[in-house]
Amino acid sequence: MIQLLRIELYKIFKRPRTYISFGIMTAITFVIQLAMLTDGKTFIGFAMQGINEQFDIQGNILNGYLVTYIILQSLLVQIPLLVALVAGDSLTGEANLGTLRLLLTKPITRPKLVLIKFFSSFIYTVLLIIWLAIVALFFSLLLFGKGDMINLKSETFIMIMQNDVMWRYAAAFGYAVLAMTTIASLALLLSAFADNSIGPIISTMGIVVVLTILSNLQIPLFNHIKPYLFTTHTIGWKGFFDEPVPYAAIARSAMVLILYTLGFLVTTIFYFNRKDIKS
């Protein structure tokens, strides 16, 4: 199993597309950091209009912690795309290259193959989030310095002491891994249904975009279905920046994501096990 996983990872990291994901993430992060460096004050001034009418907040508001938070919020839609680029290609990529049939002639069961594809996508996701942590958090702290972090919610202003922030980021990045693993498992499922790579990647993105819009629309009609959409729970990392931290809600959201991931994975195994492989 480990040997197969190694081979799978080798395949993933041999493809230039994998590094394109890391490059895209770095580029987006640097662009946001540059924007904040040049025009961050205007952005913060706009966001804090309601607060500034009544209070003077002095100090380094636009510090590395806040910039990292802005980056994470901005990458809400982009990271799933980068995850889908690899996970959505894992089964269809083999089919495209004509290696899937050959692979299945080896003494390896189909469920095991799916599990290996899933774990390799998971490792890729973990590395992607670690990279995000490095470029977003490390470079933001380097460029903007430290300070107490503010979190502007729609009706609440939260201030977190600087010595109380790092553990929240560690937890948030950990949660992001879980959320992106759900996306990876969805992309893997769609990859099992398709015969070319583009379809699963675009379908994953389409589903994520549509469900994210539904999760964020403030229309009572959708309020009943929102708790059942995984996109409602992918932003659970934000809960770690709340005060007090809503641990019960985060645990519930994490549980929903785990159930979705398992559901997607089991369906993939079930379908792939019966699939007639023609290429």
Binding site: Q54, K153, T156
Partner: protein, 239 residues
């Protein structure tokens, strides 16, 4: 006739008494408060506003008369009400020529206090009316209720202990009017827990906020330089 006499008596009784010494009392109090040209104090600050969740802030508060104020938190953020609702008594006691009305005595917490109403003669002053509860014995303002032109009413409760000669309080509680705060939901993209939904439903649409400052240690009239009040930090210049 008897009824009319009662009414006359009530009217006379309820009218403020223009006592000559009320003016003197106010000016003596203001002189004492203004005798502090500057101070440095270690403080703890608690902010209790419906839409704000801020932990207790500790730091060093620098004050220089008449209105320079800075909370140094060694790299951390400091939160103040807007400049015209200053955290110091100096700015809640009207400056310049004033009209003082003696409102008599009242007893609060078993202590007899003299109440003065002060109306600034300057039409441009942000303070419209100030009501001051005075401890005549120690010449201290124990409570002020200041109606401002633009910022609603600010109530300041003061507790004194070690710095009575300077009229510097050990603890100040400021009650002030606050407006609602809202950020577009699309911009914030909140992750809202069910607990939060419940607490939001329960939360009264209270428009009062309070700031409590505990002064731990003062250094008074040390001749603070203006440079201390020059804002440092990436965002401070715009604030």
């Amino acid at each position: 006739m008897k009824k009319h006499l009662w009414l006359l008596f009530l009217c006379l009784y309820s009218l403020p008494v223009f006592a000559g010494d009320a003016n003197e009392l106010f000016y003596a109090l203001r002189t004492k408060v203004l005798s502090v040209k500057d101070y440095t104090a270690d403080v703890k600050m608690k902010i209790d506003v419906t839409y704000m969740r801020i932990p207790e802030l500790k730091g060093t508060l620098y004050f220089k008369s008449p209105d320079k104020l800075r909370l140094e938190r060694h790299g951390g953020l400091s939160v103040f009400p807007k400049k015209n609702i200053n955290l110091t008594l100096v700015n809640l006691i009207p400056a310049g020529q004033v009209m003082v009305l003696d409102m008599g005595y009242a007893t609060r917490a078993g202590k007899k206090e003299r109440i003065l109403k002060v109306v600034p003669e300057d039409d441009q002053s942000n303070i419209v009316l100030s009501k001051i509860w005075v401890d005549e014995e120690n010449m201290l303002a124990l409570r002020t209720e200041t109606t401002t032109r633009n910022d609603g009413t600010v109530i300041m409760d003061l507790e004194f202990g070690n710095y009575i000669p300077y009229a510097l309080p050990d603890k100040v509680t400021i009650l002030m009017d606050v407006k609602d705060y809202k950020l577009p939901k699309g911009m914030a993209m909140d992750y809202i827990s069910e607990n939060e939904v419940e607490s939001k439903a329960k939360a009264s649409k209270g428009t009062k906020g309070s700031i409590q400052i505990t002064y731990l240690k003062y250094a008074v009239n040390t001749g603070l330089s203006d440079n201390i009040f020059k804002l440092k930090g990436r965002n401070e210049e715009e604030n």
